[in-house]
């Protein structure tokens, strides 16, 4: 089949090289959802306007997310004979200026540049040597931000479809052997060996089988799957086609959230193009293998990311996970037929594993968890964004080197991995290697790849409450421990945050959390108490301060803090007095101001407005009466 692919490939490579060696400048705009939210489309329009105005010719292309969300909007410019320079924080005005300065006047504007492709531009750091690039290895996201997601030729020129072409020359069992040897584990969170799952689906006897890609990414703060679909949808489609051939399925579904309109659009376009090139549809590459792909839009229920709920959702029924014992989805899934369900990133790895071989994949990451992990790094970190690192990398390398450390020079307190079902890990676990097993052992989880960094201004009880609120709303409501248990735990956490916690509450939370884990039907309930249990495990003193001393050490819980004006520092400037929305502050010229705590709503306006040079307004926690 590789012979059939070759002419398509050669044509694509020629086009790609023509683009790389073009005598016109090439301008790439990062226009995935993250870029667009920062104004990428306006930047692009500004660039095109300016080019027209200047009578300059350039090739302007949209690409996906390269991961540097901290510097959006990102614009790359490749001038003929010059290295590719990446510019960050570009606004429409800056874009126009950049076109004029660099394209017209040949000033590369090193002040706006983030990095350059090679070290030739001495004033611009080399892309590979940036601290945030150094530890990253791109497998899943290797094409994101480089290719135009709307052009299958771009993908073909990056060895795209070599995996499928090779797979079609192999037997299904051979493909599964390669997958098993590669040690690939499902990237959806649980880390189940992909090869074993595929094998069980291959062995299931049926006239019809299905392949489903789970793109129902619902964790707050997670956007890995979205970025892959927006930046390189072909890798997922190719992986699914290989899966279809390997297990004997002729039909596949991509279950993607309706909240991802751009991903859906790119995917639809990619499916269309793949069909036109006979890389999907009937008799793919003349192999006799048929594979159709359909997009199914999820309606926004987090629980539909669970495999059995997802299957029910496609069938048009209420998405509720099926309780055990039940047949495996690989044996009895969609419409009762054997169904292979994998995450976006899992499928994105497959084509490369087949193309490059199991040994190549195993050379990345750890022995038990080969390959890379993709994380959406967010929170109180200097460089938030999408990162891809080898499995087994230490947490501190991610946070301090790739993420550039804690924002605002504050102190690191905890990192939350695994989304709302994960746990919070403290500073003394920063040496922990990041892989499925180590994170689980530490009371957190890999999850689908959210990573939220928290600094010392974060209250851990409040954080636990935030994540529990999410799972409470997103529980399917079927089983008692999850439905009522999360509500009960949340009510207790509310009380603790309001200073109404009771001495026995911590033990009650632990006991209840364990029973919810033991008693719940699906992974959502079985992991919902994790944020609470892990914060109690590592930050018990904060819970105790809330309960025993009615103090919130991080000064977050509104009911436990109060504001006070230091009479020695107050310059009686009247700013806070005027700004207070409830007239709780009294005073006059030359009379230090005083906050009437009975009127104060703790909105914090006085704290914010007091000039830094005075810093007279203090936020405090504990018993206000003692201090006043």
């Amino acid at each position: 089949m590789r012979k059939v692919l070759e002419p398509l490939r050669q044509e694509a490579i020629q086009r790609w090289q023509a683009l790389q060696n073009s005598d016109k400048p090439v301008i790439l705009v990062g226009a995935a959802t993250c870029g667009r939210a920062s104004g990428a489309l306006d930047v692009m329009a500004a660039i095109e306007d300016k080019l027209r105005e200047q009578g300059r010719d350039a090739i302007v292309r949209q690409v996906g997310c390269i991961g540097k969300c901290h510097s959006e909007v990102l614009v790359d410019i490749i001038k003929p004979g010059r290295p590719r320079i990446t510019y960050g924080h570009i606004t429409p005005e800056l874009a126009k200026q950049l076109v004029e300065d660099y394209l017209v006047n040949d000033n590369p504007r090193t002040d706006l540049a983030v990095c350059a492709a090679s070290g030739e531009e001495t004033d611009i750091p080399c892309a590979d040597e940036l601290p945030d690039s150094k530890h990253q290895i791109r497998v899943v996201m290797c094409n994101c931000g480089h290719i135009d997601p709307g052009s299958i030729d771009d993908y073909l020129a990056q060895d795209g479809y070599m995996g499928l072409a090779k797979a079609l020359e192999m037997t299904p069992q051979e493909i599964i052997e390669v997958l098993k040897q590669s040690g690939l584990r499902g990237r959806g969170g649980a880390g189940f060996p992909a090869g074993r799952k595929w094998e069980s689906c291959l062995k299931a006897k049926s006239d019809q089988k299905y392949v489903i890609c789970n793109a129902d990414e619902g964790d707050p703060g997670a956007f890995m799957d979205r970025s892959v679909l927006e930046g390189d949808p072909y890798s997922v489609i190719e992986g699914m086609a290989i899966a279809g051939y390997a297990i004997g399925a002729s039909k596949g579904y991509v279950y993607v959230r309706a909240e991802y309109p751009l991903a859906i659009r790119q995917l639809r376009l990619a499916i269309q193009q793949a069909k036109e090139k006979n890389l999907l549809g009937k008799n793919i590459l003349g192999s006799g293998f048929d594979f159709e792909l359909e997009i199914f839009q999820g309606a926004g229920a987090f629980v539909c990311g669970e495999s059995t709920a997802l299957v029910l959702s496609i069938e048009g029924r209420r998405g509720m996970p099926k309780p055990l014992p039940r047949p495996r989805t690989t044996e009895e899934g969609l419409w009762g037929k054997p169904t292979l369900l994998n995450n976006v990133k899992t499928f994105a790895c497959v084509a490369q594993i087949i193309h490059r071989g199991a040994e190549w994949f195993k050379s990345i990451g750890t022995e038990k968890c080969p390959g890379t992990a993709v994380f959406a790094l967010t929170g109180k970190v200097n460089k938030s964004g999408l990162i891809e690192v080898p499995m087994g990398i230490q947490l501190k390398k991610i946070i301090y080197e790739i993420g550039g450390g804690v924002a605002g020079g504050r102190e690191f307190k905890a990192v939350q991995t695994g989304g709302p079902s994960g746990g919070c890990l403290p500073a003394d676990l920063l040496d922990l290697p990041v892989d499925f097993d180590s994170l689980t052992a530490a009371g957190s989880m890999m999850g689908s790849g959210g990573m939220v960094v928290m600094d010392d201004s974060t209250c851990m009880v409040d954080v636990a409450r935030y994540f529990l609120e999410f799972t409470l709303e997103e529980s399917c409501g079927q089983c008692t421990p999850c439905r009522v248990g999360t509500e009960q735990m949340l009510k207790i956490l509310h009380d603790i945050c309001e200073g109404k916690g009771r001495e026995e509450d911590i033990d009650l939370l632990v006991e209840m959390g364990k029973a919810i884990i033991d008693g719940s039907i699906c992974g959502l309930g079985q992991s919902a108490p994790n944020p609470v249990l892990s914060t109690i495990r590592y930050f018990r003193d904060e819970y105790e301060a809330h309960i025993r001393e009615k103090r919130c050490p991080a000064l977050v819980c509104k009911k436990l803090i109060y504001y006070r004006i230091d009479p020695d520092k107050c310059q009686a400037c009247g700013r806070c007095l005027k700004a207070c929305p409830v007239q709780a502050i009294t005073g006059a010229k030359k009379t230090p101001h005083v906050i009437d705590l009975s009127k104060c709503t703790k909105c914090g306006v006085c704290f914010e407005i007091c000039p830094d040079r005075f810093s007279a307004v203090e936020r405090k926690t504990g018993q206000a009466e003692e201090l006043n």
């Binding site: 209420r318 309780p323 709303e473 421990p481 439905r483 009771r502 009650l508 919810i516 008693g519």
Partner: protein
């Protein structure tokens, strides 16, 4: 047959049985809330969790295995059972005295079994939903503050009656039993058969005018010719309730809306208790002999003057087959074949 051990006792049950079946065969109690023998298993309440070969499973769903060792009283199982019951109670309207299911409530039974203490309950926060009772149905009400979301009503409506008027709606702690479009039961596809409230383990679905009968009388439903077996609940000389007779081969305990709720005519003041004869344009009470003599005389007189085909008889679906047989016999004796039956309509 499969042999297993439940709390150290050996028991043999058929292959495909559940742990719950095996335990019940031994007379070992396992608490259940969402399980109902008439319905498919749901496995949502999680109160029947036991330890089987060291793993926590729901007894109502887990199939037995040869040599399986089941502990219904292991500390891990008890912990989950108790937490589930405590959580359910924290979410449940605890005003038992005004509940029609008081003393017949499955939740009370299970709570008594797992051992609920006031100290433990005082540790929990109340999470009883504030929702209005759906009183739209004329016969029964749906009080969601007493609903434990076992789904028995949902499955009954789908599996027993094939109506599917209700299902789970909304998500998480807002999950509730709803009709299509979340309208009142009276506006839904509900046929008011009342099968759901017969199976509701708590007082969430309950009769509106419920009176506990002082005794029950076995009878046959008078509404149609099917002949469903019923028990009439009686207080003094009043019929206060009807329930289906589970042992009746005709209906296995099921009833329709008429049979279950349409018994008020029995004690209704407008009900005819004696034959009436119209005299001078006014109906006047008469004896049976008097009335039957009059009817017989008129029949014969009409037949004599106009021929027997001037007579016709319409029988009722409320008659039994035997009564209908006798009725056609009577009319043929009178010489006519003009016989009809309301069930034909």
């Amino acid at each position: 047959m499969v042999t297993l051990y439940v709390d150290d006792l050996a028991v043999s049950v058929e292959k495909g049985s559940t742990i719950l079946d095996a335990a019940r065969k031994l007379g070992i109690y396992i608490p259940t809330l969402c399980y109902h023998p008439d319905l498919t298993t749901f496995g949502g309440c999680r109160v029947c969790m036991v330890e089987a070969n060291g793993k926590l499973v729901t007894a109502c769903r887990a199939p037995v295995e040869e040599g399986m060792v089941v502990r219904t009283d292991s500390s891990a199982a008890r912990q989950v059972q108790r937490t589930v019951v405590e959580l359910t109670l924290s979410n449940h309207n605890g005003d038992c005295l005004t509940c029609v299911k008081d003393s017949r409530c499955k939740l009370q039974e299970v709570a008594n079994y797992v051992g609920i203490t006031p100290e433990r309950m005082a540790m929990l926060r109340s999470a009883v939903p504030e929702v209005e009772v759906d009183e739209s149905n004329p016969f029964f009400k749906l009080d969601r503050t007493r609903c434990i979301l076992c789904g028995i009503c949902v499955r009954t409506c789908q599996e027993i009656n094939g109506v599917a008027a209700i299902d789970f709606g909304f998500r998480g702690h807002k999950t509730t039993v709803v009709t299509i479009g979340n309208k009142g039961l009276a506006e839904s596809r509900c046929e008011s058969c009342g099968e759901c409230l017969e199976r509701c383990p708590t007082g969430a679905l309950a009769r509106k005018d419920y009176e506990q009968p002082s005794r029950e009388v076995k009878s046959v439903c008078p509404y149609c010719g099917v002949g469903c077996g019923i028990y009439l609940g009686v207080r003094g000389d009043r019929v206060v309730s009807v329930r289906g007779d589970k042992d009746s081969p005709v209906n296995s305990g099921q009833l329709c809306v008429k049979g279950r709720f349409g018994y008020h005519f029995i004690n209704h003041p407008d009900r005819l208790t004696a034959p009436l004869i119209k005299r001078d344009g006014v109906f006047v009470e008469a004896s049976w002999d008097e009335a039957l003599d009059l009817v017989a005389a008129r029949f014969l007189e009409t037949a004599k003057h106009y021929g027997p085909d001037a007579l016709a008889g319409i029988s009722s679906a409320r008659c039994t087959t035997e009564e209908n047989y006798l009725f056609q016999k009577l009319l043929r004796f009178l010489g006519t074949n003009n016989i009809d039956h309301c069930a034909r309509l």
